[in-house]
Symmetry: C2
């Protein structure tokens, strides 16, 4: 992991990593088994000093099983350069393709004090503790997490703001529409 591009984000600013609605990678581990999937349906649920997120995780996914077993997960923001990787880990299940992380070039690392895998090359990471809500999980595949730590690539996000205009387009976050088509995060506009 390139430590110089992994900078802590204050909890009360962490919602800004996801507020603009990017597609995320979801990662987790349990008993040494690591997995990563993609999710377009992830959203901020609360901000301030007690930030929360939601993410929808289908029952067939290995990553969901790991999260249910371990109680921890991470959401992280892949870049335009990672669009194909994102489609690949979102399409194939580790249940069918056991070596999918290696096959698709996904490398993970961990932050100090945590064993939750974080995906290299992303530009924002949110470490989350599952808030067990069995009705939501069973009925809607809807998972809630308390964000307990966050980091960003400080070339792209610093001082609580994104700086996409100052970096190559390959570092922009991506927003999935359907069928592997994404939009990158575009021009800034002040309302």
């Amino acid at each position: 992991m390139n430590a110089k591009h992994f900078t802590s984000v204050p909890l009360d600013k962490s919602y800004r990593l996801m507020n603009h609605g990017p597609t995320v990678l979801v990662s987790a581990q349990h008993d040494g088994v690591v997995n990563v999937m993609a999710a377009a349906w992830a959203c901020v649920l609360d901000f301030g000093q007690t930030p929360k997120v939601t993410v929808v995780l289908d029952k067939v996914t290995r990553t969901r099983e790991l999260i249910e077993a371990d109680g921890m997960f991470a959401l992280q923001l892949p870049t335009k350069a990672m669009a194909t990787l994102t489609v690949n880990v979102g399409t194939d299940s580790a249940k069918d393709v056991p070596d999918k992380l290696a096959r698709y070039g996904v490398t993970t690392f961990t932050a100090p004090g945590s064993d939750v895998p974080l995906v290299e090359g992303c530009v924002g990471w949110l470490l989350c503790k599952l808030v067990p809500e069995m009705h939501n999980q069973q009925t809607y595949d809807l998972f809630i997490g308390d964000v307990i730590a966050a980091w960003a690539d400080e070339r792209v996000f610093r001082d609580g703001r994104w700086h996409f205009d100052e970096v190559p387009d390959d570092l922009r976050t991506i927003h999935h529409v359907a069928g592997g088509q994404f939009f990158t995060s575009g021009a800034a506009v002040q309302g």
Copy 2:
């Protein structure tokens, strides 16, 4: 309402209106009282023939009261041209600024067979029936809706796809970060 830019979207394609994570306007009415607010925390929850959405609605908002009373609401996608309108209806409450819709130039219309207000000038609309989940609503301000009809401005969304590259930038959807700063939906990329 300019009927020629208001075209039905099949239910099984309606998730594509929100899949890329845009900021939405939330509208509702009860007993003839109409209101509109902004929400960055809205997300797809399910697709196919039973599409669902989530949206986070603070307890202090008038729009939430209308939704709780009426059981219906709409989510719709404002454009770059509506960024200031979006900030304004998201900042001021009708409780403090009773004429906020008129003051900020918000005009609504209704679809045939429905009395839910829809906001003029948007490029996508999802008509939703509240799925009552009191624990989520009280604990997390989290509301779930069944999408029962959807429409789009066919200049921008048709055949199940966005066509932002074929229209003026003013018709792009917007993604709120913080403090009135948005990103527009940017360049397409195939993963």
